[in-house]
Symmetry: C2
Subunit: 342 residues, 2 copies
DNA sequence: TTTTTTTGTTTAAACGATTAACTATATTAT
DNA sequence: ATAATATAGTTAATCGTTTAAACAAAAAAA
């Protein structure tokens, strides 16, 4: 049972396929006979004609498809982004093909190649470490793309990302204002700009408050060995020679794993230790002391990235860069230290 | 800067496009001159030839693309499934287009239509309520698809799902063996088979243990108003005339929201109330009393569904149906009641 | 030597749409 | 009556592949 094609309709109505195409696409409207048009439409409906997008794409070299490269679609951050992108894309009659890079540049390259072979109209990329050359390549090939979440500051590309510096600054400032002064941070070992912006914001806030940063306050863990390293870091934070009274995490996985360890160690939040998490997750609500956290505007990031990409498909000259603000959701984990507050 | 095509290569080497195609696809290997083949390969490499999948698809009417319809890609269950599917698909050189139905049959139909217009080779569908006719349609059109997570028992389709009856039975049995006898369940108001299988397993386990089921033990909530209804249900469970000593949840969202409410009401788990959750989530680990839960083999479901679909693409006659077992992960929330156990 | 077979390559149609350019009437203007 | 213009439609090329069938030249068999 083959799908009906323009040809089938043309044959039945007794006209050329061209005419059928014109009618069904509402082109040359004023130059087409009313009865014939009606007949064509009727037959198309009866046979439940569905245009073959593949053929259409081949001719127009537009696939109405966007390629999405995330770190890991199973991560809540990525999947929320994916939903928001899907929603916005759908509004403009685009569909989305996705793939996970696993933070691996080779896998990322393979993915991008695959997506391009399928002639996606444009790409949305959460770029892993070491993919700058790939992006430069895309720029040279004039392939429209928008970076999401991460970007390379010296690359003049479209991007939608968080203002990580500002967001972290805000979080640290909040801790300071709440009376915490020995603030530790657990982050990823990474050369990625967005990660380093987080520590930069952290250090700037400390500096601006006249607090001397101690090296042992900053723990950078390896993605591959996240759990044990986070555990170790927290233990060092409490038992080391420079104990901290607050911890900031810089990602959702770090936050959740950190909270697990805090719970396991029976550390009391916020009395013994204040906590600031990153990203929103339901998990927070189940922790005995719901943590203050930086909420990324994921919905907006996805929506914006998609509209920027769709814009770029029309006009690939302008470069749009958006730095969004995270919202600090203050909860019980950063309660002001009373004796300090007055 | 147009992409290089077969034609370009043919022109440079001075042969026909057909020959280039044969060489690059390793067809008619024994009938092709060695030097020419070498030259073609060399030029293809130099120009970084990437076949136009669109053109290929049009000719072969195979897109090497699978369509994935989930309830909501942002839900951890769906996104984990999506990753597993992506992984398996990638192994066989397929890519995945996704879309969220939002549990809405109209949206689902629109999605399926879109995916089919893009001529996906097959579909993986988490079917919402009221989509049976759509599936029957697909069957009549002989479009290969595999249902995931949900299926319609009277429809002879491929599917990969949980043995919900057995899984719930197991969970309830565990509670009974641990000494709990007044077991409540919070589930979705739904006509979907997989949901009802869960309550069936629940009731069967009660019956088999000689316990008379009380209507007030079973709360069915509406997806749209989940939060308040879950809260209300739990309050009724504790304050009503038939208080329960254990609650089973039948989905990850229900579990997490239920735990939130339990925490809010200061109900002590497991002394005042035992709890069994559904699905795995990091959130559980942050709850003061990590709950026992039914762990779905999501990885395997995705992998299996994909291989079944790929099989079906080759041989669409056989129907494969898989009912997987959930694993009961026993944690502190269902500690045996001592005086009952002996 | 002639015929057959093998080897290496080309021709050309097809997939299903789009669209510029053309044709053939009918209508209106001059 | 003739030219100009509108109206309603058709023709045919094209997008980039695949692939059956045809073809020519060389090698093997007769």
């Amino acid at each position: 049972m083959k799908k009906t094609s323009l040809k089938d309709i043309a044959q039945i109505v007794g006209v050329s396929t061209a005419l059928v195409s014109y009618v069904l696409n509402n082109k040359k409207e004023n130059r087409i006979g009313k009865e014939v048009a009606g007949k064509i439409r009727k037959v198309a409906l009866e046979l439940n004609y569905q245009p073959n997008q593949i053929a259409k794409s081949l001719k127009t070299s537009k696939t109405q498809t966007l390629g999405l490269v995330v770190a890991d679609i199973a991560n809540p951050f990525s999947s929320s982004l994916a939903r928001s992108i899907e929603e916005e894309a759908d509004k403009h009659n685009y569909t989305v093909i996705y793939g996970s890079s696993g933070e691996n540049p080779q896998k990322c390259l393979k993915l991008i190649t695959t997506l391009l072979n399928r002639r996606v109209d444009g790409l949305l990329i959460a770029a892993p470490e070491g993919t700058e050359t790939q992006l430069i390549d895309l720029m040279q090939q004039k392939i429209p793309f928008v970076l999401i979440d991460r970007y390379f500051p010296h690359l003049k590309t479209n991007y939608v990302a968080l203002d990580n510096y500002q967001s972290m600054y805000k979080a640290v400032q909040h801790l300071l204002e709440s009376g915490y002064e020995r603030i530790g941070m657990i982050t990823f070992k990474s050369s990625l700009f967005h990660i380093n912006e987080r520590t930069r914001g952290y250090r700037a806030a400390l500096a601006d408050a006249g607090i001397a940063f101690k090296k042992s306050w900053l723990k950078a863990v390896d993605r591959a060995t996240l759990k044990p390293e986070v555990s170790k870091a927290i233990q060092e934070f409490t038992t080391g020679k420079n104990p901290v009274d607050a911890i900031i995490f810089t990602s959702n996985t770090l936050s959740v794993n950190g909270l697990k360890e805090i719970k396991a160690l029976n550390i009391h939040v916020p009395d013994e230790m204040a906590v600031v998490g990153f990203d929103e997750t339901e998990a927070y609500d189940l922790f005995y002391c719901p943590p203050t956290y930086l909420k990324q505007p994921i919905e907006e990031m996805g929506r914006l990235a998609t509209t920027i990409l769709l814009e770029a498909l029309i006009n690939n000259n302008r470069v749009t860069q958006a730095n969004l603000e995270a919202t600090l959701i203050v909860q019980a984990s950063t309660q002001p230290i009373l004796h300090k507050i007055s």
